[in-house]
Symmetry: C2
Subunit: 331 residues, 2 copies
């Protein structure tokens, strides 16, 4: 493979998270499926925010969290996503650029504002996400920089971006560019409800050979295969992609790459504060491990280390020095 300018280029929703504590009763009263991501409109966003506890704001977005983590681990990364020209858009752009991630999608003028995700964190550390997509849903096709995508080793995409129409088209174009350039496409299934909305699309991309590396959690791999049988779901999907990675929360994670199967336990952690970003950071660790020529097992462990860091505090981006944590764990 020729030299690549970037290790990973990601396309995703450009979101600022608003993270607040909530009790189980609040989630139940709102009628939200705990642990899921739902899309909300302006009215619901305003009304829900009004009822939420005080929050903290932190850059988020699934694929953006992944490149933030990957950059923190030393990978050369780029991100494509749409913010509005407003204060939260500035926050998003600053935070991703401050990690050395290439991000130059121009901010969009006028309404709607930058996307935000109202995240309710229950005492068990579980996060329930309410996403107002705002400007993010208007990612235009011209934001897809063909040269940059063709020059990145891996194109990383989030399933969440299938919801809005414009980004979906942009991502399809990006997959074509990456494939023609002989690059790998990595994809995260994002959320079981998101799969409900786009199962046919996701399955046909897999069938087309569009996806080389597929990330899923337990609920997602079951939903994709419409089964309750985990082993059957994994076996069915593993035969359809070059590399399948399935995260299983406290049960660790598995990867199956061209017949090689590998499992690692979860990294020990004192107290789960906020699970937001766990899957995103797992993907970051795994992809950087592979990019740096590590074994499948070590790459999974890098994912587990990065995920353990991010769930030990509020917010979906790493706070501790991930490289030091990996060096301590794997040398």
């Amino acid at each position: 493979m020729p030299d690549t300018r970037l290790d990973i280029i990601a396309i995703g929703n450009a979101i600022v998270d608003v993270i607040a504590q909530a009790d189980e009763a609040f989630i139940a009263a709102e009628g939200i499926a705990k642990g899921s991501m739902r899309l909300i409109d302006t009215e619901t966003a305003t009304s829900l925010y009004g009822r939420m506890a005080p929050g903290i704001e932190a850059s988020g977005g699934s694929a953006a969290n992944t490149v933030a983590g990957a950059a923190a681990l030393g990978a050369r990364c780029g991100f494509i996503g749409q913010v509005a020209k407003d204060q939260l858009g500035e926050v998003f752009a600053h935070d991703v650029r401050a990690l050395g991630v290439d991000f130059d999608t121009p901010a969009r003028e006028g309404e709607p504002p930058t996307a935000r995700c109202l995240i309710l964190v229950t005492p068990d550390g579980q996060r329930t996400m309410n996403t107002f997509l705002g400007a993010s849903q208007f990612l235009p096709p011209q934001a897809i920089d063909a040269d940059r995508i063709a020059s990145a080793a891996i194109l990383y995409l989030e399933g969440y971006l299938w919801d809005p129409e414009e980004p979906r088209a942009a991502m399809r174009a990006a997959i074509d560019i990456a494939k023609k350039a002989g690059r790998k496409v990595a994809f995260t299934l994002s959320d079981a409800f998101c799969i409900e909305r786009h199962r046919d699309d996701f399955n046909s991309m897999i069938a087309n050979g569009d996806i080389d590396i597929l990330f899923a959690n337990e609920a997602e791999i079951l939903s994709l295969n419409q089964t309750g049988d985990f082993d059957a779901a994994v076996a069915a999907t593993a035969g359809r992609v070059e590399c399948l990675v399935v995260t299983r929360s406290e049960k660790g994670a598995i990867a199956i790459q061209q017949g090689e199967r590998c499992a690692v336990p979860a990294e020990p952690i004192d107290h789960v504060v906020d699970t937001t970003g766990a899957g995103d950071l797992f993907a970051a660790g795994f992809l950087v491990g592979r990019a740096h020529g590590r074994s499948l097992a070590d790459s999974l462990t890098m994912g587990a280390v990065a995920a353990a860091e991010v769930i030990s505090h509020y917010g979906a981006r790493p706070v501790a020095d991930l490289r030091a944590l990996v060096a301590k764990r794997l040398g």
Copy 2:
């Protein structure tokens, strides 16, 4: 004293904090006095933010942090401060109202934007603050609701608000109202550099009997008295106010009220993450203790408990249940 609608009404800068990690070398290279608060203009704010690490955003402002903590401890509180009509202004208003604090200062249209404080947190947990005052410096006299101030048991003011001209005038008016209504005025000296700028004003307020309860840390009480002798500084000031509270970081805190002297140790804490808000939350705990009829010693301990909580995580507002922490400590 007649029934009061509020336990505490505070006037302060309405600020959103932008908190990022920084190493000692970064602080040194920027030429900032570590541990201090400095005022910065738009240009410096933009340029410094561009060099800062990724951040998290959280509502701040010294007096606002104090009422947030006091409300979390069960006090009835109000806040007066100026935000702009922008996203950060919405964040500030939401966060303080979500705690049940009365806040109805109308957001200001147009430029400048809501105040932000760029906070650099070094590995030792020390915070260095760079404040862009923005809209906050345009708090108009009509924001001072005389009835509300007259009906609150304590008027709480931050020294930081002496920097901008309009709020300074508003605060002087507020003191007059509170005094005429027979209320107590509590004042925090805020920062040694702030005292450098306003020592004569602060001393003349004390001489006038405008301040009943005075909060200071070691550096501030020394600066106010222009001495290096801590005991002399405390003795000199204690004779001039009804109640003097001096916080001493890991050495605990002392209070001297009408001749009664009391000292408490700092609460034990595993790891100091970010000292932002330590003094603000100490004041919250102390004032609520006194409002609830606790002894001087128990009120100091409440301050120490609240301060210990806020320095154990990033951000200047409490995350844990302060009431539960106090109940566990004092019953």
